[in-house]
Amino acid sequence: MSARPGSATPIYLDYAATSPVREEVVAEMLGCLGKDGAFANPSSTHALGRAAARIVAQAKVRIAARIGADPDGLVFTSGATEANNLALVGVLGASRARRHLVTTLIEHKSVLDCARALEAKGTEVTYVRCGPDGIVDPDALERAIRPDTALVSVMHVNNETGMIQPIAEIASRCRAREIPLHVDAAQAVGKIPVDLRALGVDLCSLTAHKVGGPKGVGALWIRPGISIEPMLHGGEQQRGLRPGTLPTHQIAGMGKAFELADPEVEGPHLADLRRRLRDALAEIDDVHVNGDFDRGAPHILNVAFPGVDGEALRFALRGLAVSAGSACMADSPEASHVLSTMGLSDAAALASIRFSFGPTTTADEIDTAARLIAEAVPRLRRLALGAPAWCRELRSGRATGPGGLR
C-alpha cells in the first residue's frame, strides 16, 4: 500500500499549495526552450524575437479568456505574491490624496504583510474580519470604506478554507463609491467561474502554478484607466510597469494551463471528491469542517480534529501530502491567522488540515486518506486521554485583531 506511513510516495492532497504541471503545458513550455523553439527575447525586434512575442500575445488571449477580461490589461509577474504587492504598493503609490486601504483579516500573507509594510510607511489600513464561517460580510466591508480610501483588496477564494468571498456584492459597493477593487484570484481560477467584466473588478492577481501551470509566473490584470506605479524599474517591457526579460516558456505554460483549467469541466470532479472526503470523515467523532461547506470552492476541504496535536496528526498522516494552513507558513508553529480569525482555538487551529484536490486526484486516494485519518485520530486521542479541556475545545471566545496576526 503506497499510502502507508513511511512509504515512498505519499498521496498528494495539497493542490492548493501547488500542482503538478499538466502534460499539455509541459509540451507548450518545451516549444519555447531549445534552439529550434521560440527561445528568443520577446522584446527583440528581430524575427526570432517577434516569434516569441506572438507566443506571449497568444498566452495573453488565453489567460484573459479564462477570467473574462481584456488581454491588454495583463502585466506578467513572478506569481501572485508579486502581483498582490504590485497592486497594493502600485495603487497606493500612485494615489496622492487617498492614503487608506481596506482589506480583510483572511487575505494571503502577501496581501497582509504588504499592507503592514504600507502601514509602516504611512498608509492607514482597515482589516475587515470574516464571520465564523470564514466569509467576509459585504456590509462590514462597505462600512470600512472612507472618503480617503484608495483601494479595497479582497481575495476571491480563501487559500486555507476554500471559502468563496462575495466579490460581486463587494464590487458593486466599491463601484458605487468609485473605489478601485483588487481581487486575489489565485485560488479561484479554474475552480469557479471568474468573469472580471461581470464582477466589475479593477485589478486581479493571478498565478499559474495552482492550475497545472509552472511555478514562478503570474499576472496582475489592470483595468485601463487605473493609476498604478511600477515596483521594479528598468527597461520598457510591459509598458514599464514590470520590466525584466519576459519568460516566454513560463507565460506560454500559464496560457495553456489557463486554457485547460475550465471549472465547468473540472469542477464537478473536484466537488465529488470533496463531498466524498467530508462524508467519510463525518464517521469520525468530533470532526468539523472549517467554514461553510456549501459556500466553499470545490478543491479545498479544511477540517479541524480537536483533541490531537497538529504536528502529531500530520506526522501520523505522513502518507498524505497535506498542509496545515498554507504552505508559506508550513514551518511555523503558529496557528493559522485565518482559522484564528474564524474563532477556532489555537489547539483546534493547529489540529486542522487542509485537504486539496486536483483533476488527477482519484476517489481511491480519497478513500485511502479517509482510512488513514480514521485510524490516526482516535489513536492520538486515546494517547491524550485525560488531557485538559483546552486540548479539546474547538472554538475560543477570544477575538483576534490585526495585532494578533504575527
Binding site: 506511513p5 496535536d309 493547529l350 494517547l383 485525560g386
Partner: protein
C-alpha cells in the same frame, strides 16, 4: 521538521503509553504538566515498590518528539530508583532520540510531570513497607 527513526518508531507504537492497573489503592502516583502556549500536556503514572519504580506509563497531547521522549522516559524509569523521578534528565532522552534542540521546551514538561509524580509518591511509596 525532522524525525529520527527512533522517534518515528516510538510515535507509531509508543511503548509505555496508557494507564497502570493499580494493584491496590494508593500504589500508583500520577503527575501532570502542561504548557498551553507550546500546545503540550503530559501525564505520568508510576508505581513504586519500595525504593524502586516497578512501572511507569504516560499519556500525552503533544508533538511526535514529545510522545517519543515520554515513551523513552517510561521505559528508562522502569526498575530505576524512585529518586530518578526527580533527577530524570530529559535532554538525555532528547539526545538519544535525536530530537532537535528547539523541542527542548516541550520536552521539559516531561521532567515536570515526573517531579509531580515524585511529590505524590512520597506518601504512596510508604505502602510497600507496610504491606
Amino acid at each position: 521538521m525532522e524525525y529520527s527513526f527512533d522517534v518515528e518508531r516510538r510515535f507509531d507504537s509508543p511503548a509505555g503509553a496508557g494507564n497502570i492497573e493499580a494493584p491496590r489503592e494508593g500504589a500508583v502516583a500520577h503527575g501532570e504538566a502542561e504548557d498551553r502556549s507550546l500546545n503540550v500536556w503530559i501525564r505520568f503514572e508510576v508505581q513504586a515498590d519500595g525504593g524502586t519504580i516497578r512501572e511507569a506509563r504516560f499519556r500525552a497531547f503533544g508533538c511526535p518528539h514529545t510522545i517519543a521522549a515520554a515513551s523513552w522516559a517510561a521505559e528508562a524509569l522502569r526498575g530505576a530508583p524512585v529518586d530518578a523521578l526527580r533527577s530524570f534528565d530529559v535532554d538525555a532522552a532528547r539526545r538519544a532520540l535525536n530530537v532537535p534542540k528547539e523541542k527542548l521546551g516541550k520536552l521539559l514538561r516531561i521532567e515536570d510531570a515526573l517531579r509531580a509524580c515524585a511529590e505524590r509518591l512520597t506518601e504512596a511509596a510508604l505502602e510497600p513497607l507496610e504491606g
